[in-house]
């Protein structure tokens, strides 16, 4: 038996814990309490030092760890492209700050060796490296342009985008609008735990994203854990998904809709209709976007002056997160929003309402107050997510011809990419 501290990177070792004995190559670990092993399956596993009962060195200092896992192109398999943008899925722990820092593409692929039986990763693009809380409309545009190039490349079957989780649902819906009717699949994926953790959710998400990228579903989907088990992912429609938990691996939930597919390592079950792959068609990204848009979540008794402020700042559009079926404080309230909304609309600002409850559908016709609100010129966006409403509004207002022809209200109510779901009664 050896002291654990004596284990050297590159050694082949056997580590016994109370439940199992692990054999593998010691990797550099960024957490001093965790020994990181590359197993013969190709997977990395993190083992807590205090759980190790016995450690044996089986082979001194192999060069395996340093050697890059070669990306052998298998001509029988389809090629997919990967866009890496940063976030936890491309991070590992920084031992100095204790925080996670970004790392490189190869390590991501190594995390899910099963991909090599699904597809060749023939191209990797890094248009920028950012945690997703720092992303915005300019990044969405860059991503859409990168996707366009890759999707129009004849050698590529589909695209995987790895992305931080915080604003992933905003990016997903923005890309839906900017990419238009797709020719090939685009899978956005993530992880909630960084890839040098034994408990990472990155592997399954990457494998399922790769399976989606070679499928026939030519739609933007967010591919991620279905539940807390590490077995199934869902391909979630990009305009109907939202981060609903700070930390769970199944943080992304479908709202007011259904999954496109359920995916596991062994299965691929299509669950509803989809826009089918058409490799021969080329696409053209439509990245026009008005970034002077705001989202305002209404609170009880709130002063509507915020709308005057946004107007004075030159905002072109405002999403109001309304109460319930679509209400705002009205004449019986300390602050009546209706005159201010009307005035804002009259200034030529596009004002739309989306549900603060997140789930369900707005309906201005149940209460007379809803009809009064509609009379101000506010557009009720039915069952659209506030986050999707936000990216859609930027995209719609980005089209100056629609603005000139006064078509923006009509366009906000047009169902472009499943942002409205007329099928389920809510």
């Amino acid at each position: 038996m050896v002291e654990i501290k004596e284990l050297t990177v590159g050694e082949k070792v056997s580590l016994r814990t109370s439940s199992k004995t692990w054999e593998g190559i010691v990797l550099e670990s960024y957490d001093p309490e965790i020994v990181l092993l590359k197993l013969s399956s190709g997977y990395n596993i993190g083992i807590r030092e205090r759980e190790i009962l016995e450690a044996k060195v089986l082979e001194k200092q192999t060069s395996t760890e340093k050697k890059k896992i070669e990306q052998v192109i298998n001509k029988k398999l389809p090629n997919i492209a990967m866009i890496i943008t940063g976030g936890t899925i491309s991070s590992r722990l920084d031992p100095k700050s204790g925080a996670v820092i970004s790392t490189d593409a190869e390590e991501i692929i190594n995390m899910a060796p099963e991909i090599k039986a699904i597809a060749n990763i023939s191209k990797i693009e890094k248009p920028f490296m950012k945690f997703s809380e720092n992303m915005g409309p300019k990044d969405w545009k860059k991503l859409a342009e990168t996707c366009e190039t890759l999707l129009d490349d004849e050698t590529i079957s589909g695209v995987i985008i790895t992305h931080g989780t915080d604003t992933l649902h905003f990016t997903a819906s923005a890309l839906s609008f900017m990419l238009g009717k797709l020719n090939k699949p685009v899978a956005l994926t993530y992880s909630q735990r960084s890839i040098d953790r034994g408990s990472t959710d990155a592997s399954l998400n990457l494998i399922c994203a790769a399976k989606y990228a070679v499928s026939d579903i030519a739609e933007v989907a967010l591919v991620g854990h279905k539940d807390l088990n590490d077995e199934y992912c869902l391909a979630m429609p990009a305009t109907k998904v939202r981060k609903m938990h700070t930390s769970r691996r199944d943080a992304f939930q479908i709202i007011n809709s259904e999954p496109l597919a359920e995916i596991s390592k062994t299965e691929f079950k299509i669950l509803r209709e989809f826009n089918a792959r058409d490799n021969s068609r080329k696409i053209k990204a439509d990245i026009k976007f008005e970034s002077k848009i705001a989202l305002v979540k209404i609170t009880p008794g709130q002063d509507p002056k915020i709308l005057d402020f946004l107007a004075s700042e030159g905002y072109k559009g405002i999403i109001l997160e309304l109460f319930g079926l679509g209400q705002a404080p009205a004449q019986d309230s300390e602050n009546n929003w209706l005159p201010t909304i009307k005035k804002t609309v009259e200034k030529g600002i596009l004002v739309c309402g989306a549900p603060q409850t997140i789930s369900g559908r707005l309906n201005p016709n149940v209460y007379s107050t809803g009809r009064d609100l509609q009379k101000t010129g506010l557009i009720f966006l039915e069952d659209m997510l506030p986050e999707t409403a936000f990216t859609k509004m930027g995209w719609v207002l980005g089209h100056s011809s629609w603005v000139k022809e006064k078509k923006v209200q009509e366009k906000m109510l047009e169902n472009f990419f499943g942002e409205f779901n007329k099928k389920i009664s809510l």
Copy 2:
């Protein structure tokens, strides 16, 4: 057989539909397509005219309909008080506008005759009649004062508040803070469908609220449907509940916590620890509240100038709905929020963060960006709901002694009424 249009209010009739034959007294219906019957069970039922195959008059024009159902005080039963505030639960359809309008207390009690076997409704208060989208801090104060009087009345066992659904969760948490440690139960309840509809959810909610009001659980709870079946209600902790659907009867969901009790017509199952009833103790409502508070939901790439606007308007506190584990756009973003947050805090404005994902817990220690954000002076409110954070901030800042003694940050992090849940790992 008679024509359905000939049915007169007050007649005892028999109506045959394809599934069942109903006997009861014809009530005035506010929907021309629906015949409203009072059954011998005491329930009202709405039957669509087009579904009626045969209608027979059994007894002409009884006076039952006009006669008020007498509230006989049964001395063996506890007395409860009811506060009616408006909303769908006290509404019926207005045939002119097609919208719902408020109605009176008696009709509410008639909707759930089972209450008569649970408790006497010995007092009814109507401090105001409003749909809940129009309610705000002033109304919360009035409600708290009304509760105080009723809870300190020796003859009263508990209080039921009927309330619109739109901002019910804001009111529930505001009342928790304002009422302090309770002596008796306070149940807030609601309905999503108005009470002259056959499909109303008001009856079960009222029955379960009455059972809660006579229980030993001296806490503010929101009592409402557990699921879509009309069988079980949950008593949901007032600081950990949110309206999560525009229209479903189980619209209210517990977030980051567990129910206090599961209630049906026949059962009352306590599910966790609670503050026990103490009839001998008097309470004193603490209704101090600072209404110059704002909630800002951050969107990708957003301009932080909104904080300068709020400062210039004299706001004393701001809840930021942060991304993920507690992030805001930082140095890699088009708009770095950190300097503006720091400046806002330096102006003496209380700035706190709550999770935009709704579920889960903030954790500034996972990413260095979270720690940078914390260094601005922003207070991370862990697993607190943004809506609860909003009412708590108003209540905390309302206490000028806490403001003077610079205790507001500390008070925001004190667990007063279960607004933090340390028990579940998130």
